[in-house]
Structures are given as structure tokens and as C-alpha cells.
């Protein structure tokens, strides 16, 4: 299944800003983090199709996954 992955801020270093991937059915956010060498503590904010997700959230065909490190502002 095709999933678009977007990385932000410091997570882009030595990786990418946006890319499309083909994953097996049943892949979770956690699996994708592991495949990208992103420790779970660094994936502080996870959006799947603009809704908050967790490392154990499953993805489906056509999903947009956005991952942020711990960030803040005002």
C-alpha cells in the first residue's frame, strides 16, 4: 500500500522532507519509524491524515503520515 511520509524540522536531517513509500498491509507508524531509524521519543507528534496518531497506529492505502520531533512555539 502506498503511504506518503513527511518529515519536519530536525527529522529531515540525513533523511528527506517528503517521499512516497510502498508498505505491506498492517504496517504501523512504529514499523515506519524503525525503517527510517527514528527513535520513538523523537517522533513526538504524529499526524495521520491530519489527525493525531500513535506509534501503534496502523496505516492504510493512500494515507499521509506527518512526523514532528518535540517542538513548541507561540
Amino acid at each position: 500500500m502506498k503511504v506518503t511520509v513527511k518529515l519536519f524540522a530536525s527529522l529531515r536531517k540525513d533523511r528527506f522532507a517528503v517521499d512516497d513509500f510502498d508498505y505491506q498491509e498492517g504496517t504501523t507508524v512504529g514499523h515506519i519509524l524503525a525503517s527510517l531509524n527514528i527513535p520513538e521519543e523523537e517522533a513526538a507528534i504524529i499526524f495521520i491524515n491530519a489527525r493525531h496518531g500513535e506509534p501503534d497506529s496502523p496505516l492504510k492505502e493512500g494515507d499521509l503520515l506527518a512526523i514532528f520531533p518535540p517542538v513548541g512555539g507561540g
Binding site: 513527511k6 519536519f8 524540522a9 530536525s10 529531515r12 513526538a44 507528534i45 499526524f47 491524515n49 491530519a50 489527525r51 493525531h52 506527518a66 514532528f68 520531533p69 518535540p70 517542538v71 513548541g72 512555539g73 507561540g74
Partner: protein, 578 residues
């Protein structure tokens, strides 16, 4: 910080000053000080530009002590924009300097009888107030250059630009940063108009010869500060993300969350967000010889500010904050960083609330005054504000007035103040703060974004009404307390998540003042300040009908989440029942 400087600007024969002890205001600082004075001394039905209103300027309880992060200044009055009580808060150097000079507050009162414009000079030897009409209509940047030439390199300035002199409702009070740029602002609610109505152009502060305020227990104070600083650098937000990207790191987050107000709060995502994100600005700034890591006041260890040079490597403006990049950028369909930096500079030098100004321009675009997305047109509009043309004065009166003049139905304001950069339907918790804060639509007053979006201090689903009132309540209480300490609100990320860092803040206060404050004391202080503010607003004629969002947030769903504001009126009305 044991004295108050009172200046009667309307005294017979010219401004008359008086230095007095803190009296009944002893033990107060920052927002607690300004709101207490306003609530006690300002008749709630006064005209905000008249002699009965007062402008109160106060450093915080820990300002000038050497504690990290303690450089915030509170500026309070009855707001010309909202008609209610106002505390606007700014970084920069003045809080530290004013505190070291020994002043717990400056209170400007009365109304000048002529049309002279005054400067106030405060140093170790005392206070001088002089008329100087050659300063009339100077921009903030030009003004500070002139003040440095006259009073030396060590000064800190509190000033108004032309907008404040013209008494515009969106006029700010500017504070200089450590390099003496007037780029930090007490922005919201027209506090600059009140300073202008009092005839004061600039307060020049010089603390040469003054020492840091001495703690009661120096040893314990130093230890607490060490733990506090270590906690701030350990937390990923305050230690890494903010110094690397500044507040504008939020552009991509809010956009991905579908909560980035676009097209005058029509939708929640902006196609140009990536071009104006914190990542893009940081890279551009570094490439052009400046960068995204800068302290707005000495003693700040987070350094979320930055410097933005133009394409030739010349200074253009401070690094625009998230609110500026949204209000002048995404909200107006503008995706050009250089244009946004220019708009930021113009706001700073004319002395304007960047949020109110950007939102007003977006409302004007909605009305077709200029084309949506036209950056040069937006720049020209801000220049009209600076010149005080009739169109400029309309825009300078803020988003609500602009919407009325041009017949716009959907205007994003609460209590007359423009909404900041978060859609209240996609982040229900910030909607509660916008509706209920005594300040009007204000994001810092109870920053629900931290918990609704950033998962800081826990997580409350932003798309459901449940839990939002409790979240906003707790944050409004905590913020009112922090705003009284002189501490930068960004310490909240570290103190909410790390108990030892929170304890070190209590230890800083306790070791400095010889107190035994607990977490409950902090809560009590915050509640006390909010109660004072709510009471003033009630006496000024506000009712629960003023604690609501504009109608269209209840009727128009926002995409991509297809959601309206769902928190019920009765729930909003229960926020202050504690």
C-alpha cells in the same frame, strides 16, 4: 524594586512626577501588578484615551535578579481596542533594566493639556521628563538611533511609533532587544494608543551603576538557577527546537493538523505553508549570514529569536514570529518570506500589533480592497497605516473596525480583538481561551495548543469538545501566575513536563524573597489575577455574551476536518467557577 514612579501627564504647568513606596501593591509584579493597579485606580467606564485611564508598566517578580528567562515586561491599562482590562507582555531589555533601577512600576496618568510630546529619562540618579517635539512621528528604529546618540550605548527604550502617536487601536509599545533594536512589542489591545494619549513618546532607561537585585539566600538562589537552566536545556522544545527554528516551527505543524487559518478562517490548510515554514526561514537566514538563534533579553537561555537579512546580507528585520508569518503570510495568501520580513519590520518601526495588523489586512482582502495574496499591496497598506491616511487609519483601528467599514460578515475577533494563528474549530481548546480570556482573543493567555496539538503537558484531542474547558482553565490560571513573575512563557514547556524544573522555579522565588511558596500558591496567584480582571470587565459592562466566538464559527465547518466549534455556552460560562 521597592518604588513606584507615578507621572501625572496632565498636571498644571507640565508633567509632575512622584516616587512612592509600593504600599498596597507590595509583593506584586508583572501582570499581577498592572491588573491590580488598573482594577483599583481606573474607573471602568472611563474613555481609554482620556485622563482617567492609566498606563502601568511593570517588570516581573524575578526581573533584574539574574534568574534566567526573567526579562518580560507587562504593560496594562483599559484597552482602547476591547474596552476591557488589558495586559500586554513583551520581551527585550527594559524589564531587567527597570527592575535593577529599583522600580516595581511606572504609572502614567492624566492627559497632557497641550500637544507637546515627552521623553522620560530614568537612570541611577533619578528621573527627568522633558518635552521634545522633534521626536514627533519618528519611527521606532529612527527614534532609538536618536536616543542612543543623546543618551549613550547602554540604554534600553520603551517607545511608541507613529501608530501610538496617532492613537490607533492596534498601536503597540516597543521594547529594545540587547542590540537596541525596537523589535519586541507589548502588542495586543492598543496599549500604544494609551501611551500616545498620555503624550509620552519614549522612556529611556539606563541602569549603569546599578547591580542585580540581591536574593535573600544567594546560595540557594544560585543553585535553583543552575537546576532551572539545566532543565531548560534538557527539554527538547526549549533546548533544541526553539533555538533552531524559533516559534515559526509551528507553521508546518498547524498546517499538517488542518488548523492553519487560511482564506480568512475559511479552511485549515495553506498550500504555500512550506515556503514560509520555520524550516525554510532558518535555512534562508543562515544562508544570508544571520540565523535563527538569538536572545531577546540578556538572561534568556532558550534564544528563540533570530535575525533575518535581505538577499544582500543586510539586516531586514528580526526573525518573524509564527504569529507574524501567519497573520501577514498565510492569512493573506502571501508565501514570500522577504515580503513577510518587510511587513514584520514595518510593524516594528510603526509600532503596530503584528497580529491585529495582519488580520485586518486579510479582512480587507476579503472585502476586495486589495487582491488576496498580493504581497506588495499588503506592504503598501501597512505604509498607509504608518502615514495615517484615511485607509491607513481604518486598518490601524484593527480587524473589527476594518470589517465594519467594508461590510465583511465573517470577522475573526473576540471582544474586538483579532484571533491569532490557530483555528478554534480545529483546536477546540484554543477556542475556549479565545472566548473566555478577559484579554479578548488571545492565544498566550491559555495556550491550549501545547496540549491539543504539541502533546506538551499531556494530550487532549483537539477535535472534541470534551476536556477543553478544564484545559483552558488550568492554562489560564498558570499563565496569569507566570506573567506576574517576569518569566518568559516558554519556560512552560519545561516546567509542565519536568517536575524538577517546576520546583526550581518555586525555589528561585522562595530563595529570592524568603518565602515558602508551593504549587498551590502559584495556582492561587493566577486565580487572584484572573478574578481581578474578570471583575473589572464586569464593571466595564461585559456579560457572558462577550465570552463567545463570532457566529460563523458555530455555523461554518472548517476543512479538512469538517468541524464547527462545539463547546457549549454553559460550559464556557463554567470556566471561572472554581
Amino acid at each position: 524594586m521597592d518604588k513606584i514612579l507615578r507621572v501625572d501627564m496632565g498636571a498644571e504647568g507640565g508633567p509632575k512626577m512622584q516616587v512612592e513606596s509600593l504600599g498596597e501593591y507590595a509583593g506584586l509584579g508583572g501582570r499581577a501588578m498592572t491588573s491590580s493597579v488598573v482594577a483599583k485606580e481606573v474607573p471602568p467606564f472611563c474613555h481609554p484615551l482620556g485622563g482617567e485611564n492609566k498606563l502601568v508598566i511593570a517588570p516581573g517578580l524575578l526581573s533584574g535578579t539574574g534568574a534566567a528567562m526573567s526579562g518580560r515586561l507587562s504593560v496594562g491599562c483599559k484597552s482602547p481596542l476591547t474596552g476591557g482590562i488589558k495586559e500586554a507582555n513583551s520581551g527585550g531589555q527594559p524589564a531587567q533594566v527597570l527592575a535593577r533601577l529599583g522600580y516595581g512600576a511606572i504609572i502614567l496618568e492624566g492627559k497632557p493639556q497641550g500637544d507637546d510630546l515627552y521623553k522620560v529619562i530614568i537612570n541611577k540618579d533619578g528621573v527627568k521628563i522633558e518635552a521634545d517635539n522633534s521626536l514627533k512621528m519618528m519611527t521606532n528604529y529612527d527614534l532609538v538611533v536618536r536616543m542612543k546618540a543623546e543618551y549613550g550605548d547602554k540604554i534600553a527604550c520603551i517607545s511608541i511609533g507613529p501608530a501610538g502617536e496617532m492613537k490607533m487601536q492596534s498601536a503597540s509599545v516597543a521594547c529594545t532587544d540587547p542590540e537596541q533594536r525596537p523589535s519586541r512589542h507589548a502588542g495586543r489591545g492598543g496599549v500604544g494608543a494609551v501611551m500616545g494619549a498620555k503624550g509620552v513618546k519614549v522612556i529611556v532607561l539606563d541602569d549603569t551603576g546599578c547591580k542585580a537585585r540581591p536574593p535573600k539566600d544567594l546560595q540557594k538562589f544560585r543553585e535553583a538557577n543552575k537546576i532551572f537552566v539545566e532543565g531548560l536545556s534538557r527539554h527538547p522544545v526549549t533546548g533544541q527546537a526553539l533555538p533552531a527554528y524559533g516559534t515559526n516551527v509551528l507553521t508546518n505543524i498547524l498546517n499538517e493538523a488542518g488548523a492553519y487559518p487560511t482564506g480568512n478562517f475559511k479552511t485549515g490548510q495553506f498550500v504555500g505553508a512550506g515556503k514560509i515554514s520555520g524550516e525554510t526561514f532558518a535555512e534562508l537566514e543562515t544562508k544570508r549570514g544571520a540565523g535563527p538563534t538569538h536572545a531577546c533579553h540578556r538572561g534568556c537561555v532558550i534564544r528563540c529569536s533570530g535575525i533575518y537579512n535581505d538577499k544582500d546580507g543586510k539586516f531586514l528585520s528580526k526573525q518573524p514570529e509564527y504569529e507574524t508569518v501567519w497573520a501577514h503570510g498565510g492569512h493573506c495568501g502571501i508565501d514570500d518570506p522577504d515580503a513577510i520580513a518587510m511587513l514584520d519590520f514595518l510593524d516594528d518601526t510603526y509600532g503596530l500589533d503584528t497580529i491585529e495588523t495582519g488580520v485586518a489586512i486579510g479582512v480587507a482582502m476579503q472585502a476586495g480592497v486589495v487582491k488576496y495574496g498580493d504581497a506588495q499591496a499588503a506592504i503598501n497598506l501597512v505604509k498607509e497605516i504608518g502615514k495615517g491616511t484615511p485607509l491607513g487609519r481604518i486598518l490601524g483601528s484593527g480587524a473589527a473596525v476594518t470589517g465594519k467599514v467594508f461590510g465583511v460578515e465573517k470577522v475573526p475577533v473576540v471582544k474586538g480583538q483579532a484571533m491569532p494563528a490557530y483555528d478554534p474549530r480545529a483546536v477546540q481548546g484554543i477556542g475556549v481561551t479565545y472566548a473566555t480570556s478577559p484579554m479578548g482573543a488571545d492565544h498566550t493567555a491559555g495556550y491550549s495548543i501545547a496540549t491539543n496539538i504539541l502533546k506538551s503537558g499531556g494530550f487532549v484531542d483537539p477535535l472534541k469538545p470534551e476536556g477543553q474547558v478544564a484545559l483552558s482553565r488550568n492554562l489560564q490560571v498558570a499563565t496569569a501566575a507566570i506573567d506576574s513573575t517576569g518569566m518568559c512563557l516558554f519556560i512552560a514547556f519545561a516546567i509542565l513536563d519536568q517536575p524538577d524544573t517546576f520546583q526550581s522555579l518555586l525555589d528561585l522565588l522562595n530563595s529570592f524573597y524568603g518565602l515558602e511558596l508551593t504549587a498551590d500558591s502559584v495556582t492561587e496567584l493566577g486565580k487572584k489575577v484572573l478574578k481581578i480582571e474578570r471583575d473589572f470587565n464586569k464593571r466595564a459592562g461585559f456579560t457572558k455574551e462577550d465570552d463567545r466566538l463570532p457566529r460563523f464559527f458555530y455555523t461554518d465547518p472548517v476543512l479538512p476536518h469538517d468541524i464547527k466549534f462545539l463547546v457549549k455556552d454553559e460550559e464556557l460560562d463554567s470556566l471561572f467557577d472554581w
